[in-house]
């Protein structure tokens, strides 16, 4: 086998950070399977060619496994004559266990299967959260899938469909977790497997689950449907630990790094080194809990918030998700069913009303949040906005009917308006 020279790539073997080039070369030079040696050799050849010319040489196509319409990113080389063994170099997107937990055994098992059918290159994980098995021929994608599907792995999403989801480490380890991220993750995604495996939506639709507002999954930024853990009651304060903190770090440090950083000035450090929290002002931003995890913990009345419409740049520029459900409990079957119902109604409305290749966030910007909320029968809440409208360009007849609705839902708000 004639090795392609890779002068530019070779420069990526120096330096301390683990080198993917070295890794690929190891497959090329020392792997026992000829197919893998040849594939990786040609892959390096084409990649070197890209580095030399500063251009990419892959083109797409459409392939999938029997019974599915998606889950694979097909790649055919535009320079396949010069690099025939990596001419077909498809990536299988395989859903990871919720929370990305693996035993070394299951990793080995996946490695063995991939060794049989693929290039020997794999990524944990892609930016959407899939295990990416990078580099299989059209034929082998099926065999590989058949094999791993037997022991519990399934393809993820590609194309205009429900995509693979992500959930943070959360309850498995993290003291900030306010909900069961992995349960939410699986119940949501596994309820939409048909929409995932047979792409038929206007465009992609992503779920992400973070156990608290630190949002380690970037759910608000990158998910069409974000589930974020939070709490409704008072945060838990361990005053002894607060005092401990003052002892070790000093009052000044605590004032400058916690008290003055609270976005709503909800914290007061009392003269006796105890901490007072104004829980009605607290917006659950997490900062003080992050700085003092021993002293401060989320409250006990926990649940999740839902935000809709995050996406990145294409067409309208980046967009964050915005709140549609400020808080909901997730304790029993009914709660979970309620969550799944909201997701279903959302996706149905999206499927019916979005334009081709329009994300749900774009759709909401086009039709207005209110229309979306009304379609789903979700009650308006001030938590959905940063502030009420600043301009008078709205037609407010039917004000009284709308006011009625509010008072019915909020009897505790006395109706002194009419009284007046």
């Amino acid at each position: 086998m004639k090795l392609h020279p890779t002068p530019m790539l070779d420069q990526l073997e120096s330096g301390e950070w683990p080198s993917f080039v070295t890794g690929i070369k190891r497959l090329r030079d020392t792997h026992t399977t000829q197919r893998i040696r040849e594939t990786t050799n040609d892959l390096l050849g084409q990649l070197e060619h890209s580095y030399q010319t500063r251009k990419g040489y892959w083109k797409g196509g459409t392939i999938s496994v029997f019974g599915y319409g998606g889950g694979i990113i097909p790649r055919f080389s535009e320079v396949g004559d010069r690099f025939p063994h990596s001419r077909e170099f498809h990536t299988l997107r395989v859903q990871p266990p919720a929370g990305n937990y693996y035993s070394t055994d299951i990793l080995r098992r996946l490695a063995d299967s991939w060794e049989k059918w693929g290039s020997g290159l794999v990524t944990f994980h892609g930016q959407t959260g899939n295990i990416m098995f990078i580099g299989a021929t059209t034929e082998n994608t099926q065999y590989f899938f058949n094999e791993i599907n037997e022991y519990g792995f399934d393809l993820g999403g590609a194309g205009p469909c429900v995509r693979t989801a992500q959930s943070c480490v959360g309850s498995g380890r993290c003291e900030q977790s306010c909900t069961n991220e992995h349960d939410i993750h699986r119940r949501l995604v596994n309820n939409f497997l048909d929409e995932m495996h047979r792409p038929a939506l206007p465009y992609k639709f992503k779920f992400k689950v973070s156990g608290c507002p630190n949002d380690c999954m970037n759910a608000i930024e990158r998910a069409d449907f974000a589930v974020i853990g939070t709490w409704r009651d008072d945060m838990q304060v361990n005053q002894d630990e607060v005092k401990q903190y003052v002892v070790s770090k000093g009052r000044q440090y605590l004032i400058e790094n916690v008290i003055t950083r609270c976005p709503t000035r909800a914290l007061t450090l009392n003269d006796d080194d105890t901490l007072s929290v104004d829980n009605t002002d607290c917006v659950r931003c997490m900062h003080c809990l992050n700085v003092m995890p021993k002293a401060l913990s989320p409250g006990k009345d926990r649940g999740v918030s839902l935000l809709i419409g995050g996406k990145r740049t294409l067409k309208i520029g980046d967009r964050f998700g915005t709140v549609i459900i400020p808080f909901m409990k997730l304790e029993n079957e009914t709660d979970y069913q309620h969550l799944v119902d909201i997701a279903e109604e959302t996706i149905d409305f999206f499927a019916e009303n979005a334009l081709e290749h329009e994300r749900i966030g774009e759709m909401i910007e086009r039709i207005g949040l209110v229309n979306f909320l009304e379609a789903l029968g979700i009650e308006m809440d001030p938590n959905m906005i940063v502030h009420p409208r600043e301009n008078s360009y709205v037609r407010t007849d039917h004000w009284d009917e709308e006011a009625e609705k509010w008072f019915e839902q909020h009897p505790r708000h006395k109706k002194s308006v009419d009284a007046a």
Binding site: V370, P382, I385, E390
Partner: protein
């Protein structure tokens, strides 16, 4: 202009104020060190030279009749030094160099029915527009609204019982000549204009009327044989912009032109950047001569602010801290779909975070 008189004007423009300025102010011009607030309505400014100037501020009806104006001059001569100014809120200010004359001046003013106050953390005089007394497009009055509300806010003007100064404004149509304010009481039309098609052709320059509409709801049309204009009522946001250039597009309606209350406008740069006011209540009847419903809402908002805000928090600072959920709860005002912005840039007013209040 058919007129005998052919005098050529002297284009003198804006007169120099220095000539009418109190000598102490003139001498210390640009050299003031600090001020104190001895009591509501009274300011004591001290210059680097050590000189001091006392200011006494009094509220008046903005529409002054000559008797009232002359009375103010008389008081200014007798109890002060004959130098006055009017603030941007049409309060009169008497400037004097001798602090001992302040008390008598105040008594004289109060005896003559003028209200001393409106400084610092009080409710300032409500800024005032023309209304039915003079404007050609008003849906309500201005002088009457201000009078009615100030009658109810007299203590808040006279005393310092607010967390910070409160600037209230009113406007008698949706064009809003009154500024934004900590609280603003404005007209909010709720129905599209009623068009008198017989007049449009003669009165209105149709292309420029079409251009005036913020949502492009107006299109030229022939109505029973006459060139006129047509409004797409599904698009129309009832803003009234088409009315001034085209009076036959009557936007004002005794029943359907309502009042709306806005809060949190702050134009100073103190603390946060200047910020716009936000809609909190609408659908309020336009109810002369005393507009009790609107006043009741304003008073309720002021009460909540007074009870819950911290020193130096303007209304916007306060609501930013406690959040809108809590504001609607405290003020007992309904939150509706109308509060959720749907105008350009709406996106930025949605809550793209999990910052939430419970």
């Amino acid at each position: 202009m058919a007129h005998e008189e052919r005098r050529v004007p002297t284009e003198s423009g804006c007169p120099d104020g220095i000539q009418y300025m109190h000598p102490v102010m003139r001498e210390n011009f640009g050299h003031w060190r600090y001020h104190e607030d001895p009591m509501p309505g009274v300011l004591r400014h001290v210059a680097e030279s050590g000189d001091e100037i006392w200011t006494v501020r009094a509220g008046t009806q903005r529409i002054l009749d000559l008797f009232t104006l002359r009375k103010l001059c008389e008081i200014g001569d007798k109890y002060a030094d004959g130098y006055v100014r009017f603030t941007i809120r049409s309060n009169i200010e008497f400037m004097l160099s001798d602090g001992s004359r302040v008390e008598p001046l105040i008594s004289a003013l109060e005896e003559n029915g003028f209200i001393v106050g409106g400084t610092r953390n009080s409710v300032a005089a409500i800024s005032h527009t023309q209304g039915w007394l003079h404007c050609d497009i008003p849906a309500t009055d201005a002088s009457g609204v201000v009078k009615s509300m100030m009658d109810q806010l007299i203590d808040e003007f006279r005393h310092w019982n607010m967390p910070n100064r409160v600037h209230i404004t009113t406007s008698c149509c949706q064009i809003n000549c009154g500024g934004q304010g900590d609280i603003a009481i404005n007209i909010q039309h709720t129905k599209p204009p009623k068009i008198d098609h017989t007049l449009v052709a003669n009165v209105c320059e149709r292309p420029s009327v079409v251009a005036r509409c913020p949502v492009a709801a107006i299109r030229p049309a022939m109505v029973n044989g006459k060139p006129s204009l047509e409004v797409d009522e599904r698009k129309c946001v009832c803003c009234g912009a088409c009315y001034p250039p085209c009076p036959p597009m009557q936007i004002n309606d005794p029943e359907h032109s309502k009042l709306a209350v806005w809060i949190g406008g702050n134009h100073s740069n103190a603390r946060g950047r200047p910020c716009f006011q936000k809609l909190v209540a609408a659908g309020i009847p336009n109810n002369p001569p005393r507009w009790p419903e609107a006043t009741a809402i304003v008073k309720r908002i002021l009460r909540c602010y007074q009870e819950n805000a911290r020193d130096w928090e303007r209304i916007n600072d306060w609501v930013e801290r406690i959040g809108w959920s809590r504001f609607f709860e405290l003020s007992e005002l309904p939150f509706t779909k109308f509060h959720i912005d749907n105008w350009r840039g709406q996106q930025k007013s949605l809550n793209a975070s999990s910052h939430l209040r419970f």
